[in-house]
């Protein structure tokens, strides 16, 4: 059902946890729907230097969280905003069709974290 890469990110998720002094926090989903993600970022000179997550959800939701935090790190905010659900799914060597919304969740949580960072600076 899942690719080896997705399973690797599920069983050995990268960047799990909170960032106490995060510059931006994005939340997406809710437990009623079965998946909820909280994504924390640190930003320096318009570049995401650190990203962490907490996720309630299936194997795919956890793997997406892990992958998107990896993808976001080192990117400028503009580059990070260009990450789509398709690019996350591709990075995980594909996802079953019924799980694509999990991938959406990751991209949306990241976008919200960036928006949160920008609104704090505004």
């Amino acid at each position: 059902m899942y690719s080896a890469k997705l399973m690797d990110h599920f069983t050995n998720p990268r960047n799990v946890g909170e960032i106490a002094d995060a510059d931006g926090v994005g939340m997406e989903g809710n437990p009623t729907c079965g998946d909820a993600m909280k994504l924390f970022i640190k930003v320096q000179d318009n570049v995401i230097t650190e990203a962490k997550f907490q996720t309630f959800g299936c194997g795919a939701a956890i793997a997406v969280s892990s992958m998107i935090t990896e993808m976001a790190k080192g990117k400028t905010l503009e580059e990070a905003l260009a990450i789509t659900k398709e690019s996350v799914a591709d990075a995980l060597d594909g996802m079953p069709p019924q799980k694509m919304h999990c991938s959406n969740l990751g991209a949306d949580a990241l976008r919200k974290a960036i928006e949160d960072y920008r609104s704090r600076r505004a």
């Binding site: 989903g29 809710n30 437990p31 909820a36 996720t55 299936c58 956890i62 959406n104």
Partner: protein
């Protein structure tokens, strides 16, 4: 790594004796049971022996057993066949909210054909209230179907009471006994049912063999038209080896029933006790009126599929009613009807035990499962602050 298979509610392994009984009908006894020569008559005789064996398991007459391909077919057949045969009388059916999809979706398909269906809720234990069924009856009601025991929460329903209510109102009553037949004593006469579905792979028989009990004199329209197999009620060349296997499995189940029940009950109780030591884990279903081999829980703050995948990595096979583990991505209707919040229903986990399971296997599950729960909770935004964690900070409430 040895396999710890705790998903007997999905399928049972085939007993070697059952396979041995089936083999001749795959090989030398290949005749069509409708044929008049010896090869045909041998196959026909084997089917009739199986019919007697299955009938004995549920205290029916052999002539009341119709072989089908699956429990889903039996459930479709019972509901559609009995409702359509009675549509001059009325077009209202009643089912419970604890039903399997093969009953639930059949009821929905009847609704699309102009029937009216009432879905009777269950209480917090997953139990159907016979009185609620009674109150749902109208002059138009022709069929009531209530599952004998839920495969998700294990609750054994008060079938005898509901069947008596149906009988008093001259309504045909069907029960889906897939989880019970061959696993606990099931007696169609004592229960007073008009129709019942059962399947071989729930009592160590093969897949592809199932049956419907239909009480003598009950009217039904076939689902499958064709030849005169199964008394003209279910056409199609019989799956002889599978039917033979079902018969043999029924015979062994009847003989070994009390021993099997004691074995799985002891393991279930041990497993339940071990798992309930984990904080924020709740047993689901009725504590006493339940399947002897089924232990079911909801685990707060985490989701079922993650648990299943991590259990699998330890060689432990289980099931979940979580939406994410189903391709339909819908929360379990029975858990929702029981009043379990949807967020918690996603943390459903079901272990169903069988005769091949051992205490060592159960103990290794008791040892591994808390670690898996901890690992997933360490990732969950809710584990520290509870379910409100994201709302408090204004987390969005839109659906995914």
């Amino acid at each position: 790594m040895s396999i710890k298979y705790f998903d007997h509610i999905a399928a049972n392994p085939l007993l070697p004796e059952v396979l041995d009984a089936m083999m001749p009908y795959f090989k030398e006894q290949y005749g069509n049971p409708m044929s008049m020569y010896d090869l045909g008559m041998n196959a026909k005789q084997a089917i009739e022996t199986a019919r007697e064996q299955v009938a004995r398991l549920i205290n029916a007459k052999p002539s009341e057993i119709i072989f089908t391909s699956s429990a889903a077919e039996s459930n479709n057949f019972a509901l559609k066949g009995m409702a359509l045969a009675r549509q001059e009388i009325g077009r209202h059916i009643i089912i419970s909210k604890a039903e399997h999809h093969s009953v639930l979706n059949t009821a929905r398909s009847l609704e699309k054909q102009g029937f009216v269906a009432t879905y009777v809720p269950v209480d917090k234990y997953g139990m159907v209230d016979p009185d609620a069924v009674k109150k749902s009856i109208t002059k138009e009601t022709t069929v009531i179907s209530v599952i004998h025991a839920s495969s998700e929460v294990g609750t054994i329903e008060p079938i005898k009471e509901i069947a008596a209510i149906a009988k008093a109102h001259k309504i045909a009553f069907h029960t889906d006994a897939v989880a019970t037949a061959g696993n606990i004593p099931v007696d169609v006469k004592d229960l007073g049912v008009d129709a019942m579905s059962l399947t071989a792979h729930q009592f160590y028989g093969p897949k592809g063999a199932a049956a419907m009990y239909l009480k003598t004199g009950q009217r039904i329209l076939p689902l499958i038209y064709g030849g005169i197999q199964e008394g003209g009620r279910r056409a199609g060349t019989e799956n002889v080896p599978a039917i033979v296997g079902m018969g043999k499995a029924a015979e062994l189940a009847e003989a070994g029933l009390s021993g099997r029940m004691a074995h799985v009950r002891q393991l279930r109780d041990r497993l339940t006790e071990g798992i309930l030591k984990i904080p924020k884990v709740h047993a689901t279903g009725h504590p006493e009126q339940r399947l002897p081999g089924l232990a079911s829980f909801v685990v707060e703050y985490i989701e079922g599929e993650g648990m299943l995948l991590l259990l699998l990595a330890k060689g432990i096979y289980a099931a979940s009613g979580s939406a994410c583990t189903s391709k339909a991505l819908k929360a379990s209707p029975v858990l929702v009807s029981m009043g379990v919040p949807t967020s918690m229903a996603h943390g459903s986990i079901v272990f169903s035990l069988g005769i091949g399971n051992t205490q060592e296997g159960v103990d290794s599950c008791i040892e591994e499962f808390p670690l898996i729960v901890k690992r997933l909770r360490d990732m969950s935004p809710f584990a520290k602050e509870g379910w409100g964690a994201m709302e408090a900070e204004g987390g969005n409430k839109e659906g995914a």
